[in-house]
Amino acid sequence: MTDFLTVSDMTVAYGDNVVMKDVSFSVHEGDIFIIMGASGCGKSTLLSVLTGLKEPAKGTEVFNGTDFWPGTPENRKNAMRQAGILYQSGALWTSMTLAENIALPLEQYTNLTAAEIRDIVALKLDLVGLAGFQDFYPAEISGGMKKRAGLARALALDPKIVFFDEPSAGLDPVSSKNLDDLIVQIRDTLQTTIVMVTHELPSLLGIGTNSIYLDVDTKSAIAHGAPRDLLKNPPNEKVRRFLNRGA
Protein backbone atom coordinates (compact mmCIF):
# COMPACT_ATOMS: atom_id res chain seq x y z
CA MET A 1 0.00 0.00 0.00
CA THR A 2 1.26 3.46 -0.81
CA ASP A 3 0.81 6.53 1.28
CA PHE A 4 -1.58 9.00 -0.21
CA LEU A 5 -1.13 11.66 2.42
CA THR A 6 1.70 12.03 4.91
CA VAL A 7 1.79 14.57 7.70
CA SER A 8 4.92 15.00 9.78
CA ASP A 9 5.59 17.01 12.91
CA MET A 10 2.73 19.35 12.26
CA THR A 11 1.97 22.14 14.71
CA VAL A 12 -1.14 24.23 14.20
CA ALA A 13 -1.99 27.42 16.03
CA TYR A 14 -4.46 30.29 15.96
CA GLY A 15 -2.16 33.21 16.77
CA ASP A 16 -0.47 32.25 20.04
CA ASN A 17 -3.05 29.62 20.86
CA VAL A 18 -1.50 26.28 19.88
CA VAL A 19 -4.22 23.78 18.96
CA MET A 20 -1.99 20.78 18.23
CA LYS A 21 1.70 20.01 18.54
CA ASP A 22 3.91 17.71 16.48
CA VAL A 23 1.22 15.55 14.97
CA SER A 24 2.38 12.92 12.47
CA PHE A 25 0.38 10.32 10.58
CA SER A 26 -0.09 8.91 7.13
CA VAL A 27 -3.12 7.86 5.16
CA HIS A 28 -2.78 4.88 2.80
CA GLU A 29 -4.57 4.51 -0.47
CA GLY A 30 -7.99 2.97 0.07
CA ASP A 31 -8.06 3.80 3.78
CA ILE A 32 -11.06 5.12 5.59
CA PHE A 33 -9.03 7.24 7.94
CA ILE A 34 -10.80 8.59 11.00
CA ILE A 35 -9.79 11.72 12.89
CA MET A 36 -11.38 11.53 16.32
CA GLY A 37 -11.21 13.29 19.62
CA ALA A 38 -13.26 15.29 22.08
CA SER A 39 -15.06 18.46 21.06
CA GLY A 40 -12.64 21.36 20.58
CA CYS A 41 -9.53 19.22 20.13
CA GLY A 42 -8.91 20.65 16.67
CA LYS A 43 -10.38 18.13 14.25
CA SER A 44 -11.98 20.69 11.96
CA THR A 45 -8.84 22.80 12.22
CA LEU A 46 -6.69 19.85 11.15
CA LEU A 47 -9.01 19.23 8.22
CA SER A 48 -8.70 22.83 7.05
CA VAL A 49 -4.90 22.46 7.14
CA LEU A 50 -5.07 19.20 5.20
CA THR A 51 -7.23 20.82 2.52
CA GLY A 52 -5.05 23.90 2.18
CA LEU A 53 -7.25 26.52 3.82
CA LYS A 54 -5.07 27.18 6.83
CA GLU A 55 -1.32 27.30 7.03
CA PRO A 56 0.29 25.22 9.79
CA ALA A 57 2.77 26.89 12.13
CA LYS A 58 5.28 24.11 11.48
CA GLY A 59 5.54 20.74 9.82
CA THR A 60 5.09 19.20 6.39
CA GLU A 61 2.31 17.58 4.45
CA VAL A 62 2.92 15.50 1.36
CA PHE A 63 -0.23 15.06 -0.67
CA ASN A 64 -0.23 12.47 -3.43
CA GLY A 65 3.49 13.01 -3.99
CA THR A 66 3.47 16.82 -3.98
CA ASP A 67 4.68 19.08 -1.21
CA PHE A 68 1.56 20.72 0.13
CA TRP A 69 2.93 22.53 3.16
CA PRO A 70 5.40 23.99 2.55
CA GLY A 71 4.63 24.40 -1.10
CA THR A 72 3.32 27.01 -3.48
CA PRO A 73 -0.36 27.95 -3.70
CA GLU A 74 -0.22 26.71 -7.30
CA ASN A 75 0.97 23.28 -6.11
CA ARG A 76 -1.79 23.12 -3.56
CA LYS A 77 -4.40 24.13 -6.09
CA ASN A 78 -3.29 21.43 -8.53
CA ALA A 79 -3.14 18.81 -5.81
CA MET A 80 -6.62 19.70 -4.59
CA ARG A 81 -8.08 18.72 -7.97
CA GLN A 82 -7.65 15.16 -6.75
CA ALA A 83 -9.72 15.92 -3.66
CA GLY A 84 -13.37 16.30 -2.81
CA ILE A 85 -14.62 17.79 0.42
CA LEU A 86 -17.88 17.38 2.25
CA TYR A 87 -18.25 20.21 4.74
CA GLN A 88 -19.89 19.98 8.14
CA SER A 89 -22.81 22.11 6.91
CA GLY A 90 -22.89 20.76 3.36
CA ALA A 91 -21.77 24.18 2.08
CA LEU A 92 -23.76 23.95 -1.11
CA TRP A 93 -23.80 27.23 -3.02
CA THR A 94 -27.21 28.49 -2.08
CA SER A 95 -27.75 30.64 -5.15
CA MET A 96 -27.41 27.66 -7.49
CA THR A 97 -29.51 24.56 -8.06
CA LEU A 98 -28.12 21.15 -7.12
CA ALA A 99 -27.31 20.49 -10.78
CA GLU A 100 -25.41 23.78 -11.08
CA ASN A 101 -23.57 23.05 -7.84
CA ILE A 102 -22.27 19.77 -9.20
CA ALA A 103 -21.67 21.15 -12.68
CA LEU A 104 -19.44 24.03 -11.58
CA PRO A 105 -16.29 21.97 -10.86
CA LEU A 106 -16.92 19.99 -14.05
CA GLU A 107 -17.19 23.18 -16.10
CA GLN A 108 -14.04 24.49 -14.58
CA TYR A 109 -11.77 21.49 -14.88
CA THR A 110 -13.01 19.53 -17.89
CA ASN A 111 -13.80 20.22 -21.53
CA LEU A 112 -17.08 18.36 -21.46
CA THR A 113 -20.05 19.66 -23.40
CA ALA A 114 -23.17 20.84 -21.60
CA ALA A 115 -24.98 17.61 -22.47
CA GLU A 116 -22.16 15.45 -21.13
CA ILE A 117 -22.06 17.48 -17.95
CA ARG A 118 -25.79 16.98 -17.57
CA ASP A 119 -25.33 13.21 -17.76
CA ILE A 120 -22.55 13.21 -15.19
CA VAL A 121 -24.59 15.40 -12.85
CA ALA A 122 -27.50 12.99 -13.16
CA LEU A 123 -25.19 10.05 -12.43
CA LYS A 124 -23.73 11.67 -9.30
CA LEU A 125 -27.18 12.53 -8.01
CA ASP A 126 -28.32 8.95 -8.68
CA LEU A 127 -25.34 7.64 -6.70
CA VAL A 128 -26.35 9.55 -3.59
CA GLY A 129 -30.03 8.76 -3.97
CA LEU A 130 -31.17 12.18 -5.14
CA ALA A 131 -32.24 11.30 -8.65
CA GLY A 132 -34.55 13.95 -10.07
CA PHE A 133 -33.55 16.72 -7.67
CA GLN A 134 -31.46 18.54 -10.30
CA ASP A 135 -33.46 21.75 -10.27
CA PHE A 136 -33.98 22.08 -6.53
CA TYR A 137 -32.23 24.81 -4.60
CA PRO A 138 -30.33 23.86 -1.42
CA ALA A 139 -32.90 25.70 0.68
CA GLU A 140 -35.63 23.39 -0.61
CA ILE A 141 -34.18 20.09 0.61
CA SER A 142 -33.68 18.61 4.08
CA GLY A 143 -30.47 18.55 6.12
CA GLY A 144 -29.70 14.92 5.33
CA MET A 145 -30.35 15.52 1.64
CA LYS A 146 -27.99 18.51 1.73
CA LYS A 147 -25.27 16.26 3.12
CA ARG A 148 -25.84 13.82 0.29
CA ALA A 149 -25.93 16.56 -2.31
CA GLY A 150 -22.68 17.89 -0.84
CA LEU A 151 -21.25 14.41 -1.26
CA ALA A 152 -22.38 14.32 -4.88
CA ARG A 153 -20.57 17.62 -5.46
CA ALA A 154 -17.46 16.32 -3.66
CA LEU A 155 -17.50 13.34 -6.01
CA ALA A 156 -18.02 15.43 -9.14
CA LEU A 157 -14.48 15.13 -10.48
CA ASP A 158 -13.98 11.48 -9.45
CA PRO A 159 -11.53 12.51 -6.73
CA LYS A 160 -8.86 10.15 -5.44
CA ILE A 161 -9.48 11.32 -1.89
CA VAL A 162 -12.54 12.70 -0.13
CA PHE A 163 -12.49 14.63 3.15
CA PHE A 164 -15.54 14.53 5.37
CA ASP A 165 -16.25 16.80 8.33
CA GLU A 166 -18.74 15.03 10.58
CA PRO A 167 -20.82 13.55 7.78
CA SER A 168 -23.37 11.97 10.08
CA ALA A 169 -23.79 14.81 12.59
CA GLY A 170 -27.43 15.77 12.79
CA LEU A 171 -28.71 12.69 10.96
CA ASP A 172 -31.05 10.08 12.38
CA PRO A 173 -29.50 6.63 13.05
CA VAL A 174 -30.90 5.07 9.89
CA SER A 175 -29.80 7.87 7.56
CA SER A 176 -26.46 7.91 9.31
CA LYS A 177 -26.05 4.17 8.70
CA ASN A 178 -27.06 4.65 5.06
CA LEU A 179 -24.47 7.38 4.66
CA ASP A 180 -21.82 5.05 6.13
CA ASP A 181 -22.79 2.36 3.66
CA LEU A 182 -22.62 4.89 0.87
CA ILE A 183 -19.13 5.93 1.95
CA VAL A 184 -17.92 2.33 1.95
CA GLN A 185 -19.51 1.73 -1.45
CA ILE A 186 -17.81 4.76 -2.87
CA ARG A 187 -14.49 3.64 -1.48
CA ASP A 188 -14.94 0.16 -2.95
CA THR A 189 -16.32 1.12 -6.34
CA LEU A 190 -14.39 4.28 -7.10
CA GLN A 191 -11.21 3.34 -5.19
CA THR A 192 -11.39 6.58 -3.25
CA THR A 193 -9.33 7.20 -0.13
CA ILE A 194 -11.38 8.71 2.64
CA VAL A 195 -10.42 10.99 5.53
CA MET A 196 -13.24 11.54 7.94
CA VAL A 197 -13.75 13.59 11.09
CA THR A 198 -16.38 11.99 13.23
CA HIS A 199 -17.32 11.11 16.77
CA GLU A 200 -20.14 8.76 15.88
CA LEU A 201 -18.92 5.54 17.51
CA PRO A 202 -21.00 3.10 15.43
CA SER A 203 -19.80 4.78 12.30
CA LEU A 204 -16.11 4.98 13.13
CA LEU A 205 -15.98 1.46 14.56
CA GLY A 206 -18.04 0.18 11.66
CA ILE A 207 -16.11 1.52 8.71
CA GLY A 208 -12.82 3.04 9.93
CA THR A 209 -9.65 1.23 8.83
CA ASN A 210 -7.16 3.58 10.48
CA SER A 211 -7.35 6.56 12.80
CA ILE A 212 -5.71 9.05 15.08
CA TYR A 213 -7.04 10.31 18.37
CA LEU A 214 -6.30 13.97 19.15
CA ASP A 215 -6.14 14.89 22.81
CA VAL A 216 -7.34 18.27 24.06
CA ASP A 217 -5.05 18.47 27.11
CA THR A 218 -1.71 17.40 25.67
CA LYS A 219 -2.60 18.83 22.23
CA SER A 220 -1.12 15.81 20.49
CA ALA A 221 -2.13 12.53 18.87
CA ILE A 222 -2.25 9.96 21.67
CA ALA A 223 -3.46 6.96 19.69
CA HIS A 224 -2.96 5.65 16.21
CA GLY A 225 -4.44 2.57 14.55
CA ALA A 226 -7.62 0.90 13.36
CA PRO A 227 -10.50 1.96 15.64
CA ARG A 228 -11.55 -1.65 16.25
CA ASP A 229 -8.03 -2.57 17.37
CA LEU A 230 -7.93 0.48 19.60
CA LEU A 231 -11.19 -0.68 21.16
CA LYS A 232 -9.69 -4.11 21.86
CA ASN A 233 -6.30 -2.87 23.07
CA PRO A 234 -6.69 0.74 24.11
CA PRO A 235 -3.25 2.36 24.49
CA ASN A 236 -4.47 4.60 27.29
CA GLU A 237 -7.40 5.42 29.53
CA LYS A 238 -8.66 8.42 27.51
CA VAL A 239 -8.99 6.46 24.30
CA ARG A 240 -10.59 3.54 26.14
CA ARG A 241 -13.21 5.82 27.64
CA PHE A 242 -13.84 7.57 24.30
CA LEU A 243 -14.42 4.30 22.46
CA ASN A 244 -16.65 2.98 25.24
CA ARG A 245 -18.83 6.09 25.50
CA GLY A 246 -17.14 7.19 28.74
CA ALA A 247 -17.77 3.90 30.55
Binding site: G52, L53, K77, M80, Y87, A91, L92, P105, Q108, R153
Partner: protein, 372 residues
Protein backbone atom coordinates in the same frame (compact mmCIF):
# COMPACT_ATOMS: atom_id res chain seq x y z
CA UNK B 1 -41.85 29.84 54.11
CA UNK B 2 -38.58 31.53 53.25
CA UNK B 3 -35.24 29.80 52.92
CA UNK B 4 -33.04 29.97 56.01
CA UNK B 5 -29.36 29.49 56.74
CA UNK B 6 -28.27 29.09 60.36
CA UNK B 7 -24.61 29.21 61.26
CA UNK B 8 -23.76 27.24 64.42
CA UNK B 9 -20.11 27.62 65.42
CA UNK B 10 -18.59 24.94 67.65
CA UNK B 11 -15.03 24.41 68.78
CA UNK B 12 -13.68 22.67 65.77
CA UNK B 13 -16.52 22.74 63.31
CA UNK B 14 -18.86 25.25 61.82
CA UNK B 15 -22.26 23.73 61.17
CA UNK B 16 -24.38 25.33 58.48
CA UNK B 17 -28.02 24.34 58.78
CA UNK B 18 -30.18 25.00 55.76
CA UNK B 19 -33.94 25.11 56.12
CA UNK B 20 -37.21 26.22 54.60
CA UNK B 21 -38.29 26.50 50.99
CA UNK B 22 -35.60 27.29 48.48
CA UNK B 23 -36.78 28.76 45.23
CA UNK B 24 -35.10 30.75 42.49
CA UNK B 25 -38.18 32.94 42.36
CA UNK B 26 -37.57 34.53 45.77
CA UNK B 27 -34.31 36.12 46.86
CA UNK B 28 -32.33 33.58 48.81
CA UNK B 29 -30.34 33.81 51.98
CA UNK B 30 -27.57 36.34 52.19
CA UNK B 31 -24.19 34.63 52.31
CA UNK B 32 -21.89 37.34 53.61
CA UNK B 33 -22.16 36.13 57.25
CA UNK B 34 -20.71 32.82 56.20
CA UNK B 35 -17.85 34.51 54.41
CA UNK B 36 -16.84 36.41 57.56
CA UNK B 37 -17.30 33.39 59.84
CA UNK B 38 -15.34 31.14 57.54
CA UNK B 39 -12.26 33.21 58.25
CA UNK B 40 -12.25 32.16 61.94
CA UNK B 41 -10.14 29.15 62.95
CA UNK B 42 -12.39 26.14 62.32
CA UNK B 43 -10.91 23.17 60.61
CA UNK B 44 -14.10 21.82 59.05
CA UNK B 45 -17.49 22.91 57.84
CA UNK B 46 -20.58 20.71 58.03
CA UNK B 47 -23.45 21.37 55.66
CA UNK B 48 -26.70 20.05 57.03
CA UNK B 49 -29.84 19.97 54.93
CA UNK B 50 -32.05 18.41 57.54
CA UNK B 51 -34.82 20.98 57.63
CA UNK B 52 -34.96 21.85 53.96
CA UNK B 53 -38.52 21.36 52.74
CA UNK B 54 -38.31 22.25 49.06
CA UNK B 55 -35.26 23.08 47.04
CA UNK B 56 -34.08 23.88 43.51
CA UNK B 57 -31.01 25.38 41.84
CA UNK B 58 -30.90 28.25 44.35
CA UNK B 59 -30.06 25.75 47.12
CA UNK B 60 -27.32 24.04 45.11
CA UNK B 61 -25.89 27.36 43.94
CA UNK B 62 -25.67 28.59 47.55
CA UNK B 63 -23.87 25.43 48.68
CA UNK B 64 -21.47 25.65 45.72
CA UNK B 65 -20.74 29.22 46.67
CA UNK B 66 -19.98 28.12 50.27
CA UNK B 67 -17.76 25.33 48.96
CA UNK B 68 -15.80 27.82 46.91
CA UNK B 69 -15.31 29.89 50.07
CA UNK B 70 -14.21 26.77 51.99
CA UNK B 71 -11.68 25.95 49.30
CA UNK B 72 -10.33 29.45 49.39
CA UNK B 73 -10.00 29.37 53.21
CA UNK B 74 -8.59 25.82 53.04
CA UNK B 75 -11.33 24.29 55.20
CA UNK B 76 -12.51 20.75 54.74
CA UNK B 77 -16.24 20.19 54.38
CA UNK B 78 -18.76 17.38 54.56
CA UNK B 79 -22.50 16.94 54.14
CA UNK B 80 -25.16 15.70 56.52
CA UNK B 81 -28.72 14.70 55.76
CA UNK B 82 -28.92 16.42 52.43
CA UNK B 83 -32.23 16.21 50.58
CA UNK B 84 -32.48 13.45 47.96
CA UNK B 85 -30.91 14.34 44.66
CA UNK B 86 -29.03 17.39 45.89
CA UNK B 87 -25.73 15.60 46.48
CA UNK B 88 -25.45 14.04 43.01
CA UNK B 89 -26.11 17.46 41.54
CA UNK B 90 -23.36 19.02 43.66
CA UNK B 91 -20.97 16.23 42.73
CA UNK B 92 -21.78 16.71 39.06
CA UNK B 93 -21.06 20.40 39.31
CA UNK B 94 -17.73 19.77 41.07
CA UNK B 95 -16.71 16.91 38.79
CA UNK B 96 -14.87 18.92 36.14
CA UNK B 97 -12.46 21.33 37.81
CA UNK B 98 -12.37 24.76 36.17
CA UNK B 99 -9.88 24.79 33.32
CA UNK B 100 -6.82 26.94 33.69
CA UNK B 101 -7.61 29.30 30.85
CA UNK B 102 -5.62 32.44 30.23
CA UNK B 103 -7.56 35.46 31.47
CA UNK B 104 -9.75 37.02 28.80
CA UNK B 105 -9.29 40.70 28.26
CA UNK B 106 -12.68 41.94 29.33
CA UNK B 107 -13.65 45.18 30.95
CA UNK B 108 -11.82 48.47 30.77
CA UNK B 109 -8.22 48.75 29.79
CA UNK B 110 -5.88 51.59 30.70
CA UNK B 111 -6.35 54.43 28.24
CA UNK B 112 -2.93 54.16 26.63
CA UNK B 113 -3.27 50.38 26.15
CA UNK B 114 -6.60 50.85 24.48
CA UNK B 115 -5.27 53.66 22.30
CA UNK B 116 -2.26 51.59 21.27
CA UNK B 117 -4.36 48.56 20.48
CA UNK B 118 -6.90 50.56 18.53
CA UNK B 119 -4.28 52.21 16.39
CA UNK B 120 -2.43 48.93 15.83
CA UNK B 121 -5.63 47.25 14.72
CA UNK B 122 -6.41 50.26 12.53
CA UNK B 123 -3.11 49.89 10.72
CA UNK B 124 -3.54 46.13 10.45
CA UNK B 125 -7.00 46.78 8.97
CA UNK B 126 -5.53 49.19 6.43
CA UNK B 127 -2.88 46.69 5.40
CA UNK B 128 -5.59 44.04 5.09
CA UNK B 129 -7.76 46.31 2.96
CA UNK B 130 -4.76 47.09 0.78
CA UNK B 131 -3.99 43.42 0.17
CA UNK B 132 -7.68 42.88 -0.59
CA UNK B 133 -7.58 45.59 -3.24
CA UNK B 134 -4.46 44.06 -4.77
CA UNK B 135 -6.16 40.69 -5.01
CA UNK B 136 -9.27 42.28 -6.49
CA UNK B 137 -7.10 44.01 -9.09
CA UNK B 138 -5.31 40.77 -9.95
CA UNK B 139 -8.66 39.07 -10.34
CA UNK B 140 -9.92 41.86 -12.60
CA UNK B 141 -6.89 41.39 -14.83
CA UNK B 142 -7.54 37.65 -14.96
CA UNK B 143 -11.09 38.49 -16.03
CA UNK B 144 -9.89 40.80 -18.79
CA UNK B 145 -7.57 38.08 -20.09
CA UNK B 146 -10.53 35.68 -20.00
CA UNK B 147 -8.95 33.49 -17.34
CA UNK B 148 -11.27 34.16 -14.41
CA UNK B 149 -13.79 31.51 -13.46
CA UNK B 150 -17.20 33.05 -13.09
CA UNK B 151 -20.65 32.41 -14.35
CA UNK B 152 -21.93 34.81 -17.00
CA UNK B 153 -25.37 34.52 -15.48
CA UNK B 154 -24.00 35.83 -12.16
CA UNK B 155 -22.55 38.85 -13.94
CA UNK B 156 -25.84 39.52 -15.74
CA UNK B 157 -27.75 39.19 -12.51
CA UNK B 158 -25.38 41.58 -10.76
CA UNK B 159 -25.68 44.09 -13.60
CA UNK B 160 -29.44 43.92 -13.47
CA UNK B 161 -29.47 44.13 -9.70
CA UNK B 162 -27.17 47.18 -9.66
CA UNK B 163 -28.80 48.80 -12.66
CA UNK B 164 -32.42 48.37 -13.64
CA UNK B 165 -33.60 47.21 -10.24
CA UNK B 166 -32.21 50.34 -8.59
CA UNK B 167 -34.08 52.78 -10.83
CA UNK B 168 -37.31 53.18 -8.82
CA UNK B 169 -35.61 54.15 -5.56
CA UNK B 170 -33.10 56.39 -7.35
CA UNK B 171 -35.98 58.13 -9.16
CA UNK B 172 -37.90 58.72 -5.98
CA UNK B 173 -35.02 60.09 -3.93
CA UNK B 174 -33.46 62.19 -6.68
CA UNK B 175 -36.78 63.70 -7.72
CA UNK B 176 -37.25 64.72 -4.09
CA UNK B 177 -33.75 66.18 -3.93
CA UNK B 178 -34.34 68.25 -7.07
CA UNK B 179 -37.61 69.40 -5.57
CA UNK B 180 -36.03 70.41 -2.29
CA UNK B 181 -33.09 72.24 -3.84
CA UNK B 182 -35.47 74.18 -6.10
CA UNK B 183 -37.87 74.96 -3.29
CA UNK B 184 -35.27 76.17 -0.81
CA UNK B 185 -33.48 78.13 -3.53
CA UNK B 186 -36.67 79.72 -4.78
CA UNK B 187 -37.50 81.21 -1.39
CA UNK B 188 -34.26 83.19 -1.46
CA UNK B 189 -34.30 83.98 -5.17
CA UNK B 190 -37.90 85.20 -5.05
CA UNK B 191 -36.77 88.05 -2.81
CA UNK B 192 -34.89 89.45 -5.79
CA UNK B 193 -37.48 88.42 -8.35
CA UNK B 194 -34.86 86.09 -9.79
CA UNK B 195 -36.94 82.90 -9.77
CA UNK B 196 -35.66 81.92 -13.19
CA UNK B 197 -32.25 81.21 -11.68
CA UNK B 198 -33.79 78.26 -9.85
CA UNK B 199 -33.34 76.39 -13.12
CA UNK B 200 -29.61 76.94 -13.28
CA UNK B 201 -29.22 76.35 -9.54
CA UNK B 202 -30.84 72.94 -9.85
CA UNK B 203 -29.12 72.03 -13.09
CA UNK B 204 -25.63 72.80 -11.82
CA UNK B 205 -26.02 71.49 -8.27
CA UNK B 206 -27.62 68.23 -9.33
CA UNK B 207 -25.40 67.38 -12.28
CA UNK B 208 -22.15 68.44 -10.73
CA UNK B 209 -22.38 66.62 -7.44
CA UNK B 210 -25.78 66.04 -5.83
CA UNK B 211 -26.96 63.39 -8.31
CA UNK B 212 -23.79 61.36 -7.89
CA UNK B 213 -23.84 61.64 -4.10
CA UNK B 214 -27.47 60.63 -3.80
CA UNK B 215 -27.01 57.69 -6.17
CA UNK B 216 -23.92 56.69 -4.17
CA UNK B 217 -25.64 56.82 -0.80
CA UNK B 218 -28.61 54.87 -2.12
CA UNK B 219 -26.42 52.22 -3.72
CA UNK B 220 -24.26 51.81 -0.63
CA UNK B 221 -27.33 51.18 1.51
CA UNK B 222 -28.97 49.02 -1.08
CA UNK B 223 -26.30 47.17 -3.02
CA UNK B 224 -23.13 47.50 -0.92
CA UNK B 225 -24.98 46.15 2.09
CA UNK B 226 -26.42 43.32 0.07
CA UNK B 227 -22.96 42.36 -1.22
CA UNK B 228 -21.62 42.21 2.34
CA UNK B 229 -24.59 40.20 3.58
CA UNK B 230 -24.58 37.75 0.67
CA UNK B 231 -20.87 37.02 0.71
CA UNK B 232 -20.82 37.11 4.53
CA UNK B 233 -23.47 34.45 4.86
CA UNK B 234 -21.68 32.35 2.25
CA UNK B 235 -18.65 32.65 4.53
CA UNK B 236 -20.72 31.47 7.52
CA UNK B 237 -22.04 28.57 5.49
CA UNK B 238 -18.52 27.40 4.44
CA UNK B 239 -19.53 28.10 0.82
CA UNK B 240 -16.48 30.32 0.32
CA UNK B 241 -14.22 27.53 1.64
CA UNK B 242 -15.87 25.16 -0.79
CA UNK B 243 -15.01 27.50 -3.67
CA UNK B 244 -11.46 27.95 -2.52
CA UNK B 245 -10.69 24.27 -2.01
CA UNK B 246 -12.15 23.58 -5.43
CA UNK B 247 -9.51 25.88 -6.86
CA UNK B 248 -12.01 28.60 -7.75
CA UNK B 249 -10.89 31.97 -6.49
CA UNK B 250 -13.63 33.67 -4.45
CA UNK B 251 -12.34 36.90 -5.96
CA UNK B 252 -13.00 35.71 -9.50
CA UNK B 253 -16.30 34.14 -8.64
CA UNK B 254 -17.80 36.57 -6.13
CA UNK B 255 -15.93 39.87 -6.08
CA UNK B 256 -15.19 40.58 -9.75
CA UNK B 257 -18.75 40.28 -11.09
CA UNK B 258 -20.03 42.59 -8.37
CA UNK B 259 -17.19 45.06 -8.73
CA UNK B 260 -17.68 45.19 -12.50
CA UNK B 261 -21.44 45.46 -12.27
CA UNK B 262 -21.50 48.32 -9.82
CA UNK B 263 -18.61 50.23 -11.42
CA UNK B 264 -20.24 49.97 -14.84
CA UNK B 265 -23.70 50.87 -13.62
CA UNK B 266 -22.88 53.81 -11.36
CA UNK B 267 -22.11 56.27 -14.21
CA UNK B 268 -25.47 55.43 -15.80
CA UNK B 269 -27.25 55.72 -12.49
CA UNK B 270 -25.59 59.11 -11.98
CA UNK B 271 -26.87 60.41 -15.32
CA UNK B 272 -30.29 59.01 -14.52
CA UNK B 273 -30.20 60.66 -11.10
CA UNK B 274 -29.28 63.97 -12.79
CA UNK B 275 -32.28 63.73 -15.08
CA UNK B 276 -34.80 62.94 -12.34
CA UNK B 277 -33.29 65.65 -10.14
CA UNK B 278 -33.74 68.24 -12.88
CA UNK B 279 -37.31 67.04 -13.38
CA UNK B 280 -37.92 67.55 -9.66
CA UNK B 281 -36.61 71.09 -9.96
CA UNK B 282 -38.74 71.71 -13.03
CA UNK B 283 -41.81 70.58 -11.12
CA UNK B 284 -41.26 73.30 -8.52
CA UNK B 285 -40.32 75.90 -11.14
CA UNK B 286 -43.33 75.31 -13.34
CA UNK B 287 -46.01 74.47 -10.79
CA UNK B 288 -45.06 76.72 -7.89
CA UNK B 289 -43.07 79.56 -9.40
CA UNK B 290 -45.29 79.93 -12.46
CA UNK B 291 -42.37 79.86 -14.85
CA UNK B 292 -43.37 78.74 -18.33
CA UNK B 293 -42.02 75.34 -19.41
CA UNK B 294 -40.18 76.81 -22.41
CA UNK B 295 -38.55 79.38 -20.20
CA UNK B 296 -37.48 76.75 -17.68
CA UNK B 297 -36.06 74.44 -20.31
CA UNK B 298 -34.15 77.27 -21.94
CA UNK B 299 -32.66 78.39 -18.62
CA UNK B 300 -31.70 74.84 -17.80
CA UNK B 301 -30.04 74.28 -21.15
CA UNK B 302 -28.08 77.48 -20.74
CA UNK B 303 -26.75 76.40 -17.35
CA UNK B 304 -26.07 72.76 -18.25
CA UNK B 305 -22.47 72.35 -19.22
CA UNK B 306 -20.97 69.09 -20.41
CA UNK B 307 -18.13 69.57 -18.01
CA UNK B 308 -20.49 69.58 -15.01
CA UNK B 309 -22.09 66.37 -16.18
CA UNK B 310 -18.70 64.73 -16.70
CA UNK B 311 -17.53 65.82 -13.26
CA UNK B 312 -20.67 64.23 -11.79
CA UNK B 313 -20.03 61.03 -13.71
CA UNK B 314 -16.45 60.95 -12.42
CA UNK B 315 -17.73 61.19 -8.85
CA UNK B 316 -20.31 58.50 -9.53
CA UNK B 317 -17.85 56.08 -11.09
CA UNK B 318 -15.44 56.42 -8.17
CA UNK B 319 -18.30 55.84 -5.71
CA UNK B 320 -19.22 52.66 -7.56
CA UNK B 321 -15.72 51.23 -7.10
CA UNK B 322 -15.65 52.27 -3.43
CA UNK B 323 -19.05 50.78 -2.60
CA UNK B 324 -18.41 47.49 -4.35
CA UNK B 325 -14.96 47.09 -2.77
CA UNK B 326 -16.25 47.90 0.72
CA UNK B 327 -19.20 45.52 0.44
CA UNK B 328 -17.13 42.64 -0.90
CA UNK B 329 -14.27 43.27 1.54
CA UNK B 330 -16.58 43.14 4.55
CA UNK B 331 -18.26 40.03 3.16
CA UNK B 332 -15.04 38.13 2.46
CA UNK B 333 -13.57 39.08 5.85
CA UNK B 334 -16.82 38.24 7.66
CA UNK B 335 -16.67 36.04 10.78
CA UNK B 336 -18.47 32.75 11.14
CA UNK B 337 -21.73 33.60 12.86
CA UNK B 338 -24.96 35.47 12.34
CA UNK B 339 -23.95 38.58 14.27
CA UNK B 340 -20.76 38.81 12.21
CA UNK B 341 -22.91 39.13 9.09
CA UNK B 342 -24.80 41.99 10.73
CA UNK B 343 -21.56 43.69 11.63
CA UNK B 344 -20.18 43.21 8.14
CA UNK B 345 -23.29 44.78 6.62
CA UNK B 346 -23.16 47.77 8.94
CA UNK B 347 -19.45 48.32 8.34
CA UNK B 348 -19.91 48.03 4.60
CA UNK B 349 -22.39 50.93 4.61
CA UNK B 350 -20.61 53.09 7.18
CA UNK B 351 -17.13 52.65 5.74
CA UNK B 352 -18.26 53.21 2.17
CA UNK B 353 -20.07 56.44 3.10
CA UNK B 354 -17.02 57.68 5.01
CA UNK B 355 -14.74 56.82 2.10
CA UNK B 356 -17.15 58.47 -0.34
CA UNK B 357 -16.88 61.66 1.70
CA UNK B 358 -13.10 61.54 1.65
CA UNK B 359 -13.16 60.76 -2.05
CA UNK B 360 -15.49 63.70 -2.73
CA UNK B 361 -13.18 66.05 -0.84
CA UNK B 362 -10.10 64.88 -2.75
CA UNK B 363 -11.79 64.97 -6.15
CA UNK B 364 -13.34 68.38 -5.48
CA UNK B 365 -9.93 69.73 -4.55
CA UNK B 366 -8.40 68.31 -7.72
CA UNK B 367 -11.20 69.60 -9.94
CA UNK B 368 -10.80 73.03 -8.41
CA UNK B 369 -7.08 72.95 -8.86
CA UNK B 370 -7.40 72.15 -12.54
CA UNK B 371 -10.26 74.58 -12.89
CA UNK B 372 -12.76 72.04 -14.18
Amino acid sequence: MMSTVQLIPAKKELTVVFGGDWSIETPFENVSDFETLAKSPFSAVVFSGESVRRWDSSFVATILHFITVCKKEKKSYRFEKMPDGALPLIELALKVPPRDLPPRANGRKPFLDALGETSLSFFAGCADAFSFCRQAYASLRRFLRGKAVLRKSDLWLALQEAGANALPIVSLICFMIGLIVAFVGSIQLKLFGAQIYVASLVAIAVTRVMGAIMAGVIMSGRTGASYAATIGSMQVNEEVDALETMGISPFDFLVTPRLLALSLMMPFLTVYADITGILGGAFVGIVMLDLSPEEYVRATMNALKMRHVLVGIAYGASYGVIIALCGCFQGIRCGRNASAVGKATTSAVVVSIVLMTVDTAVLTFLFNMFGV
